[in-house]
């Protein structure tokens, strides 16, 4: 259920996002999701890619500071209140969301939410109990 996400440190300057994207394209690695978290002066590029091990090696070889973190991908149920169901499953559970972002599902209209939890195992148990569908990395990368 856990998905390996690649994070890079980037200064907030023009071109600092396109360089990593270009590198992956050269290596034939697909970017499934890309999200930029930024502050005033610097940013963190978070990516889910088709081959995270190769991507991490490529980035390191090019002098990037790379971190691999485990995230969960949650399919937002395709019915009214779907998102509320997901968040409701976590409410009051004491499970901390460190951050989240969304991207559109490749085969359909609904979104996929990527969550970074302080304790991913507890989160998996909690979400599964609530009947929330977690995507495995092969499903996500299909």
């Amino acid at each position: 259920m856990k998905i390996n996400q690649i994070s890079l440190f980037a200064e907030n300057k023009p071109g600092h996002i396109s360089a990593p994207a270009r590198l992956l394209a050269q290596e034939g690695i697909d970017i499934r999701a890309l999200f930029l978290a930024d502050s005033q002066h610097f940013g963190i590029v978070r990516m889910i890619v088709s081959d995270w091990q190769k991507a991490a090696a490529v980035f390191e070889a090019h002098g990037f500071v790379v971190k691999v973190t485990e995230v969960l991908a949650v399919e937002v149920p395709d019915h009214p209140g779907g998102l509320a169901d997901v968040l409701g499953a976590l409410d009051g559970s004491g499970i901390n969301i460190e951050y989240m972002y969304a991207f559109p599902y490749p085969r359909g209209d609904q979104a996929i939410l990527i969550f970074r939890f302080a304790d991913p195992d507890a989160a998996i148990a909690q979400l599964q109990t609530a009947g929330i569908n977690l995507l495995a990395s092969d499903e996500l990368l299909k």
Binding site: F9, A37, S39, H41, F42, I44, E60, V65, V66, K67
Partner: protein, 445 residues
Amino acid sequence: MKMNAILETSAADCHPASVRDYTPLPELRALQLQRVQAVVARAWDHVELFRSRMDERGLVPEDIHSLDDIAKLPFTVKSDLRDTYPFGLFASPMKDVVRLHVSSGTTGKPIVVAYTSDDVSVWTSVIVRCLAGCGLHRGDILQNAYGYGLFTGGLGAHYGAEALGATVVPTSGGNADRQIMLLKDFGVTAICCTPTYFLHLIDRAAELGVDLKQLPLRAGVFGAEPWTESMRRHIENKSSIEAFDIYGLSEIIGPGVACECRRHQGLHIFEDHFYPEIIDPDTGEALPEGTEGELVLTTLSKHAMPMIRYRTRDITMLLPDRCQCGRTLRRMGRIGRRSDDMLIIRGVNVFPSQVESALLQIEGTLPNYQIVLTREQGLDQMEVRVEVTPHMFNDQIGALQGLQARIQSALDHVLGIRVQVALVEAYSLERSQGKAKRVIDRRTS
């Protein structure tokens, strides 16, 4: 002087060249006097600038009767080398010069230094003594990551290491991944480079999953830029090597003017070839042992380019007492700063080494930094750029902002002025010959 000094290496089991490190003082002083008289006569005969300065003072070489008389001689400063570019300070005809090195200047013309074949031999012998003093010997595999070429570091260390009998791996600077591969595959036991570059290797090795502590590497001989005790602790903790400070400058000979022994209590100056003085940088007056001031060096054996009372701009002191290692050679304190390093920011004196110390206080940070000075509406602004390393990186914005705030508060505390902190990408700060460019001053006065 108590006689309980322990000889860590008896003169018999170190390299023969090291025997000179234990010359009895009366013999050493007599040798220095004889050599200084010869070098002054040589410079007076062959170097016009030196002779004219002697004339202005009404001095002739015969006026040097004792080592104290050296204080009467005129100083030589870096701009003299630029002003006489390229060959104006040479005391040997080109047919006797076997090597030229060039050091790049930040402004204007570079400086050129020359060596006769005897000069190269002296240079080689002092490096042998440096490395032997660091406990290295035949059988050691030494990776020399100082830049080869116009810079004196690479070739200087190379000749000395070969003469010592070590196996030299001449990697020169750059290509960290290959450096680490060779360290590992060859079972390298010692490395020479700038401390900044070694920090980079520590960092890169961790990224590559190579544990430097598990390698045979046991000694690092680091120089060509000032570095601090806290940086030594950091290096030694991360790599389990013994880190030695080596000192030198191209104008005098290159690396090998002075080096630490295994006591790590100051750097022994190879006084049979280099005569040290400490002066007040403002008045030029000689200062006593144990007092901090500017280091002034006179080369005692250089032929091609003798330097008389060269003002190094490096701030240090001559240490009183003899070293526990038994060497008779005097020691100088580690160079923490250069007199021209001092920055005055909003009236406050700031040294780059203070920034380094502040950064090393914060867990996980490496002192890969650069100071950028600007002036806005008449006020000096100081920004400290710090490279984000894998140890520092966390993929949450809040954690990085917290790190930024901790660096900020450590710097405010150490420097006593408000500075801006910017986190920048790894390897993005400018480096040259492995030396980090620490200060960019964009203030226009």
